[in-house]
């Protein structure tokens, strides 16, 4: 394919948007983000912000991070041209960013490597984390084992049931897994409980948040650590095809794999982006996890963002077949990108995701996580309407091994 000139920057309503300008000094992304936490945590967040600012200007820190990503995680992850699947859909050429091939099986480890380095530099001996599907919990337990740190993972009782394999993996890695039985017993409640632990043990504990949510500076630093996905994909695409992709697609729970892929392309005006939320049983049923599509702005877990809430401001229960997307909020930068219309946010229902899970497995011999299957299912809608010389990059954010029990149960098989 011939190289086409790369269009930089973009005007929205005649006003140039500077995508690198967020977050601002106080941690806001337009009207979103911020630091909505109880007073006890402010000092720890100030310290974290300071540490991150100092270290992100330190070449040695970046060198150590890059080396860990190369030799421990196995980066760069491949950009794979799914020829057979592309042909089957009959439209755009589809490239899979293979985050499923990372050590521990998902994109989550990029961030835990980065935050564990921060924990190490600040001398914290104990790390805690919340987890939904268990991927972030496994990635945290993994880096904790490697650095010899004490590790406690908070996981909703409902998710522990759905993700038994990952629970056992965490235990093998030496982590203590605490079952959270409050509220809806899923990811949001695990995050509440992790916050409660952090407030109690703030002196010696580093809280490794797994997504681009939480109080400032978490959404920023998680984005920066995950942006390696997009930087690699951009370079790989240019090298393989001589041009940039036309579209990017990624699934969104809190939104870390999506922001990681999208962020390095935001200034590329010709690249359209699709963030795929969990439509559950269908947005119209109310049983879903799609705050950007069907929610409204509110305040939860330390930041202002789109939420699923009732008219009294209570957070409502979410539903998704995938534990990793089963979250009522979303990272504040996504809320901002939605409002300024840089990214399109769409939904995929449980059954569509499940069909895509089976489809990719049969067509390409790659078994995707149910979370990533939401992105794949959207590609199935998007690609056929595009010309064959167009390019879509989809973030294959994790592998499907952890979901085999869920899929088997749907098939009526007990393993």
């Amino acid at each position: 394919m011939s190289a086409v000139p790369i269009e930089r920057s973009r005007d929205v309503a005649g006003k140039k948007i500077d995508y690198q300008s967020v977050p601002d000094e106080s941690g806001h992304y337009g009207p979103y983000g911020g630091r909505f936490v109880s007073e006890t945590l402010i000092h720890a967040l100030d310290q974290l912000e300071h540490t991150y600012k100092t270290l992100s200007a330190d070449p040695d820190f970046h060198k150590e991070f890059d080396q860990d990503l190369a030799h421990y995680v196995g980066r760069p992850s491949p950009l794979y041209h799914a020829r057979r699947w592309s042909q089957e859909l009959g439209g755009a050429q589809i490239y899979l960013k293979r985050e499923d091939l990372n050590h521990t099986g998902a994109h989550k480890v990029n961030n835990t490597i980065g935050q564990a380095l921060l924990a190490k530099y600040t001398g914290k001996k104990r790390v805690i984390a919340e987890t939904g599907a268990g991927q972030h919990g496994v990635a945290t337990a993994t880096v904790a084992a490697r650095l010899g740190m004490e590790c406690q993972i908070f996981m909703g009782e409902e998710d522990i049931r759905r993700q038994a394999l990952n629970v056992y993996r965490m235990k093998l890695l030496g982590a203590q897994v605490t079952s959270v039985t409050s509220g809806s017993r899923t990811l949001k409640d695990a995050m509440n409980e992790a916050m409660r632990d952090w407030v109690t043990n703030v002196d010696d504990t580093f809280y490794i948040i797994g997504t681009v949510a939480g109080p400032h500076p978490y959404p920023q630093l998680v984005r920066d650590f995950q942006a390696v996905i997009g930087r690699e994909a951009r370079a790989q695409c240019l090298e393989m095809t001589g041009r940039l992709p036309d579209s990017l697609v990624a699934c969104i729970g809190g939104g870390s794999n999506a922001i990681g892929l999208f962020h390095p392309f935001l200034d590329d005006a010709g690249v359209s982006m699709y963030g795929v939320e969990a439509g559950g049983y269908g947005v119209e049923t109310g049983k879903h996890a799609a705050p950007l599509t069907a929610g409204s702005p509110g305040i939860l877990h330390g930041n202002r963002t789109y939420l699923m809430q009732d008219d009294a401001g209570q957070i409502i229960h979410t539903h998704s077949i995938s534990a990793g997307l089963d979250y009522p909020g979303v990272g504040p930068e996504h809320s901002w990108l939605k409002d300024i219309e840089r990214v399109n946010y769409v939904t995929i229902n449980d059954d569509e995701a499940l069909a895509a899970f089976r489809g990719l497995t049969l067509t390409e011999g790659i078994m995707p996580a149910l979370e990533s299957s939401h992105a794949l299912a959207y590609v199935e809608k998007l690609a056929p309407g595009m010309d064959k010389d167009k390019i879509i990059i989809v973030n294959l954010s994790g592998r499907g091994d952890k979901d085999i029990h869920t899929v088997a149960a749907i098939d009526g098989i007990t393993i």
Binding site: F36, E39, I42, H43, N192, V202, D203, L300, A312
Partner: protein, 269 residues
């Protein structure tokens, strides 16, 4: 002068310390709350803190979390809590009432609208746990316009510089969180509280109350020696559900007994 300031000045003139019970509005059911508020005043409470139920009460320990869940089973919203205050005010125009809760139920009503409704209901102060001063500019302005106090937390981890920032914006009183942890935790360190209060008083002249971890008359008394007021939450909330009294009136009487015990203890200081 706000009802809170008037109350605290009156107490100070008599060298008395404020006793501030906290209950979750609507726990264990909505009909319980207003009679309970009156009873608390009768047993010696000076100021009442009403917890506004929220689905994700991140700063609370298990006792108060469960109280939020019980209240939410009855769909007790912030608007319903305002109605309870309005009802309470029909008989009691003197006792200050503070609403303590989380940002989202406040945010969804809108700060201006909320300030208007709260003033009409007879609310005297707001303590929004997850809204530190940096994020509270709009709420502060809205409440100030209707002369409702904004109460902020100070924690063991709050630096001297931040105490100044908080003191600049706070009105009514400051609420010192006596420990690093959630409400109802068990590791209160009296000496460290005393030290921090001295630091706060060197910076700010507002009265300072202390809460989190005060569970009996003895701990209330120790804290009252140097604080302007003590807040008791989990110990009281726990009694509301623990007791299996024959009827609601009996249950209210028995569970609020701890307040009159605490009253005697802190008045002996």
């Amino acid at each position: 002068m706000s009802r809170i300031t008037a109350c605290l000045q009156r107490l100070q003139a008599k060298s008395r310390k404020a006793l501030i019970p906290y209950i979750v509005a609507g726990d264990p059911n909505p009909g319980f709350t207003v009679p309970m508020m009156h009873k608390l005043v009768e047993q010696g409470a000076d100021i009442l803190e009403l917890g506004v139920p929220f689905s994700d009460p991140m700063a609370e320990g298990p006792v108060i979390q469960l109280a939020h869940e019980r209240a939410l089973l009855h769909n007790v919203s912030l608007r319903a809590v305002l109605d309870m205050v309005k009802e309470f005010r029909q008989q009691d125009q003197q006792t200050p009432v503070i609403l303590m809760g989380y940002a989202n139920p406040v945010h969804i009503i809108g700060y201006q609208q909320l300030a208007k409704l709260a003033a009409e209901a007879g609310v005297d102060g707001f303590l929004t746990v997850d809204m530190p001063p940096e994020e509270a500019t709009e709420l502060h302005a809205a409440l100030k316009a209707v002369a409702i106090d904004i109460i902020f937390l100070i924690a063991p981890t709050t630096t001297e510089q931040r105490i100044r920032t908080i003191a600049d914006m706070a009105t009514g009183y400051l609420y010192y969180v006596s420990l690093k942890g959630v409400t109802g935790a068990g590791h209160l360190d009296i000496d460290s509280v005393k030290e921090k209060l001295a630091q706060i008083r060197a910076i700010c002249s507002l009265p300072v109350t202390v809460g989190f971890g005060i569970k009996d008359p003895a701990s209330a008394q120790s804290i009252a020696r140097f604080a302007d007021g003590v807040v008791v939450g989990s110990a009281l909330v726990n009694r509301v559900v623990e007791l299996n009294a024959v009827d609601e009136q009996e249950q209210i009487a028995q569970s609020t007994q701890i307040i009159s015990d605490m009253r005697r203890a802190i008045d002996a200081v």
